[in-house]
């Protein structure tokens, strides 16, 4: 079992030029499950994921993994809302995370081929990543994040540019990863997807955790009127 958890967040705040992006956040995440972060545009979903991952400056409070920080950094990966493509071939995008952690070229390429197969990009291995469509880019970003078999995987709206079928494929990959022991922490605007994947839900509003609970309870019986309105698809202030 993972030695990274529990993840303890206390009074954590991220600001940008004085403006609070997210926080103060108090949160305790256990080793099991899939946490789905939801909330309206600008609620702070991206900011929260970045803060937990440690790539946003922490202005106050703390984000504490159970293991030491260097180790925690090595075992996480992040899939960005707008996928970042290295200006290289699809194959080299996939091998990059392995190569920088010291895996040999041959082994990395074998792993890349396996991963390309999984994400349905086998035919595109030799193409420039810049020549991929938006959906293909998202899949490549996911494959690149999974290839080091991270213990924790952050995903910021990983299916935003995917059609129905690609979304199902990606969800299958995510569920398989979760079953394999990868802890998923993701945001989504797709409530269907949230229901399918989540074991627990964090509902953000105005940069704060407004409500949090086990997925079933949250979806069937949200506590706050704002969460109820959000799930109905109403505008939440």
């Amino acid at each position: 079992m993972s030695r990274m958890f529990p993840l303890i967040v206390e009074g954590a705040v991220t600001r940008r030029r004085g403006k609070v992006l997210v926080g103060p956040v108090d949160l305790r995440l256990e080793a099991r499950g899939v946490t789905v972060v939801i909330g309206p545009n600008g609620a702070g979903k991206t900011s929260l994921l970045r803060m937990l991952h440690g790539i946003a400056r922490l202005n106050e409070g703390r984000v504490q993994w159970a293991c030491d920080e260097a180790e925690a950094r090595e075992r996480q990966a992040f899939v960005f809302q707008t996928p970042v493509m290295l200006r290289r071939s699809v194959r080299e995008n996939l091998t990059y995370p392995l190569r920088i952690s010291g895996v040999g070229r041959k082994a990395a390429e074998v792993a890349a081929e396996g991963m390309a197969d999984k994400i349905g990009l086998s035919g595109a291995l030799g193409r420039s990543a810049l020549a991929l469509s938006g959906g293909e880019r998202q899949k490549l970003a996911l494959g690149r994040a999974l290839i080091r078999e991270p213990e924790v995987l952050f995903l910021d709206e990983p299916c935003a540019a995917l059609d129905g079928r690609a979304m199902r494929e990606v969800e299958a990959i995510l569920l398989a990863a979760a079953e394999g022991g990868t802890r998923l922490i993701m945001s989504t605007h797709n409530m269907g997807q949230a229901r399918r994947l989540a074991s627990e839900v964090v509902f953000l509003l105005g940069g704060r955790i407004h409500e949090r609970g086990a997925a079933e309870t949250f979806f069937d019986n949200p506590e706050t009127p704002q969460a109820r309105a959000f799930l109905r698809g109403d505008i939440v202030e």
Partner: protein, 234 residues
């Protein structure tokens, strides 16, 4: 008018028959400038990458110095190198003054700032694109610089070509430190200056054509590189 036509036709004759002096001077020019280019690129490209990825204390100062050096008249660079290499100067014992090595040193000093600041500009852009990903992957500073240098290679080649263009056409500094010695340190630009002052337009024009040809080739290469860059090829 007659002089000009005479000069032109003789110049073409020199070019077509691959005149010995012409070839020697051209090859020396290329040798000096390509050596300077390799050395300058090895210094300037990593420097550009370092300036892009690291927020170190002397970063602002370094950028300011580079910009100031870029505006430095080459003649002044020549003067300084001359003083340093002259027999009474600190490096006088090495006996480098009036050798191709001295010219290479002067050209390196002239083009390092140019290549470094073009490289820095291009890599800074790439870095804003890569920043989140490479930080997230927990890369070391060296790995980040490597990724930028590799993935920005087209822009960097453009930077180097700009340096080549500047160096091959430079005359003031290498005239001072090289001395324009026949069969030793005479290069395209200094030869043109000399032949023109002697009134021998034929050789001057022939050398000029070569210089123009090189400049056009470099610009063509830069154009082609930016083109493929935009289309996202290799």
């Amino acid at each position: 008018m007659g002089d000009l036509w005479d000069g032109l036709s003789q110049a073409f004759f020199l070019l077509v028959t691959l005149d010995g002096d012409l070839v020697e001077i051209t090859l020396r020019s290329l040798q000096v400038t390509l050596s300077a280019l390799v050395i300058a690129s090895v210094i300037a490209l990593p420097l550009g990458a370092l300036l892009a990825v690291r927020r170190f204390r002397l970063r602002r100062v370094t950028i300011a110095v580079l910009n100031a050096l870029m505006g430095l008249p080459p003649v002044v660079v020549g003067l300084i190198v001359y003083i340093l290499l002259s027999r009474s100067g600190p490096f006088g014992v090495m006996g480098l003054l009036f050798t191709p090595t001295a010219m290479i040193i002067a050209q390196v000093i002239i083009i390092v700032p140019l290549i470094a600041s073009i490289a820095h500009q291009a890599l800074r852009e790439l870095w804003t694109e890569y920043h989140d990903l490479l930080i997230s992957m927990n890369t070391t500073h060296v790995q980040r610089m490597k990724a930028l240098l590799w993935d920005g290679r087209r822009a960097l080649l453009t930077a180097s070509l700009a340096g080549f263009g500047r160096a091959i056409g430079e005359v003031g500094a290498i005239m001072i430190v090289g001395g324009n010695i026949d069969h030793a340190t005479r290069v395209l630009t200094t030869a043109i200056a000399l032949e023109t002052s002697k009134g021998d337009f034929a050789l001057a024009l022939a050398l000029g054509f070569i210089l123009i040809g090189l400049a056009i080739a470099v610009n063509f290469a830069i154009h082609w590189l930016t083109q493929t860059e935009r289309e996202g090829r290799w």
